[in-house]
Symmetry: C2
Subunit: 326 residues, 2 copies
């Protein structure tokens, strides 16, 4: 084919899109870069932002935040219930991943998870009425990060869900996470069928009390050494948690078996954990949350203390600022 | 210092040692290589040996042996008792690591382990009378390798010890190993005090039956996939078995807890395994033994099917030959 442009030529266009369109219309290949100048083109604001690079006050603040991050020692101290443990948690509140978002703007999987949580809580008897309830405006939706909590994927946490309680050694701050359900049809991917709700109830009624008894017997469990060993064994403790889950199981089992807790419940709990290589994920997330929260609130610091998405928007929180949504 | 030799010069001497001695006497530095010609200097035998390199019959035999090695699929099928399971095991026989060795020639740790095994078996009431019994010539000492078995370090296995039973898929051959005692004062390092004997008895009376019940519930356990995963997680499944031990524990525990076996025994067994990162070692050794035995006995093959030391001598066994001791 004859074109105005040589074979193999490719053009990257920044700025007015019509330039790229003309090239394509002429038979060439062009990629349009989606770019805007810093600070939305505001020169004064852009210059102010640029001044912050290597700014001595920011550097000092960042050193302080980073030191607090490194000094943090997340310890698993037990299991609680979201409605009782999480700061600011309310009776009809559902937490979610990422920055704030209204029901109508949520992506499908997050809406599915919220609907599942409503059924799980018993606020509605089925998914249709749960959806109507969610649309009705009486349920409060807030980011888990605003309540010292994290959860994978949809990150949905409702008041009666069990949560890991992670505390930085010294008791300076706490972080929380829900318990990992495994793979397949699970709430965090937006599934809300009967088996999902049934598993969530079993997790609250059997798994959490069994783990709670085991942790009471074991005592506080330092998570950094366990994570360090798992990293050496090939985990990145996010999408690969096989080593960490095994190491955690190995730590918890002797205590569980000597806790005096109902043997059948322990057996079921252990079987569930042994079959879920992702079980440690929620612990690693909460441990990171505890460490990063320790670095939060240092005036002037640009240290990133949270990055989180809700499926629609992505949020970044800096230590010296409340949060930013992009 | 003034010498006959330049600074930094170092001499490696092969052959008559007096050359090296003269250099050292003259103020120089010389290393004497402990070397002898092949076949002990016998030119005809040496030439015959050299002919075997790349010999088509040996190559064909080695391909056959290697294929059998690769095709082997070691599966853990249960736990037995050495005296009943091991081929050729006799009532007053004690197996040991490495090539054949008489009591008088054994190194201290192996003698210590043998003495411990005699006390454990109840053939003598204390270590002094056990030593006299071992010296007396009524106990038969044979290499574990001659009875399809392996064991770490001293490798001592006596008739009433529990053994892992590993079978190659298809049932072509079996290999056995004792159970790992952990670190510290243990029989395999030559310790034979009361706590060592007590632990061995607990292993036979509690650990082995608990594991046996768990394995009966679990069914045959393929060891290659477990070892492959452990290798990816940083183990070499000899001196580093942290991953393999954890993965094994994760596989065995749900079955153990649902086996109906005495809960206290299961709890103690699991606690013991969870506290011993070397627990899998004996399983990996027996798995390798099963795989290498599958390659043994191919006429003309120089494929190495066993390498083993007893602390004094080192033995190498080739597929087409009985064994060689160097």
């Amino acid at each position: 084919m004859s074109t105005l442009f040589g074979e193999g030529q490719r053009i990257v266009n920044v700025g007015l899109q019509s330039f790229a369109e003309s090239i394509v219309a002429g038979g060439g290949k062009a990629v349009q870069v989606d770019w805007t100048p810093p600070a939305g083109g505001d020169r004064v604001a852009g210059w102010s932002l640029a001044q912050l690079l290597d700014h001595p006050e920011v550097e000092r603040a960042n050193e302080k935040a980073y030191a607090a991050y490194l000094a943090a020692q997340p310890v698993l101290v037990g299991i609680g219930v979201a409605g009782k443990q999480l700061p600011g948690m309310e009776a009809r509140m559902i937490l979610h991943a990422g920055p704030p978002i209204d029901w109508a703007d949520m992506c499908g999987p997050m809406q599915g998870a919220v609907i599942g949580a409503i059924v799980y809580e018993g606020w509605a008897s089925d998914v249709d009425s749960a959806r109507r309830l969610a649309e009705g405006g009486t349920i409060v939706f807030e980011p888990a990060h605003h309540h010292a909590a994290v959860g994978p994927m949809a990150g949905v946490i409702s008041p009666s869900m069990p949560v890991w309680v992670i505390e930085n050694a010294g008791g300076s701050n706490r972080a929380y996470s829900n318990l990992n359900e495994g793979l397949g049809k699970v709430l965090r991917f937006g599934a809300n069928s009967g088996e999902v709700i049934k598993r969530l109830r079993w997790m609250a009624d059997v798994l959490a009390p069994a783990l709670s008894a085991a942790l009471a017997k074991l005592g506080p469990l330092e998570l950094k050494p366990l994570i360090a060993q798992a990293l050496q064994m090939g985990d990145e403790v996010h999408n690969r948690n096989a080593a960490a889950s095994s190491l955690f199981l190995k730590r918890i089992i002797p205590a569980a078996l000597h806790s005096g807790f109902d043997a059948a419940a322990i057996a079921d709990a252990v079987t569930f954990i042994a079959g879920n290589d992702h079980f440690f994920l929620n612990l690693s997330m909460a441990a990171c949350k505890a460490m990063l929260d320790a670095a939060h609130g240092v005036k002037g610091s640009s240290f990133v203390t949270a990055m989180s998405r809700n499926g629609v928007r992505f949020g970044v929180r800096l230590s010296g600022y409340r949060f930013a949504v992009v």
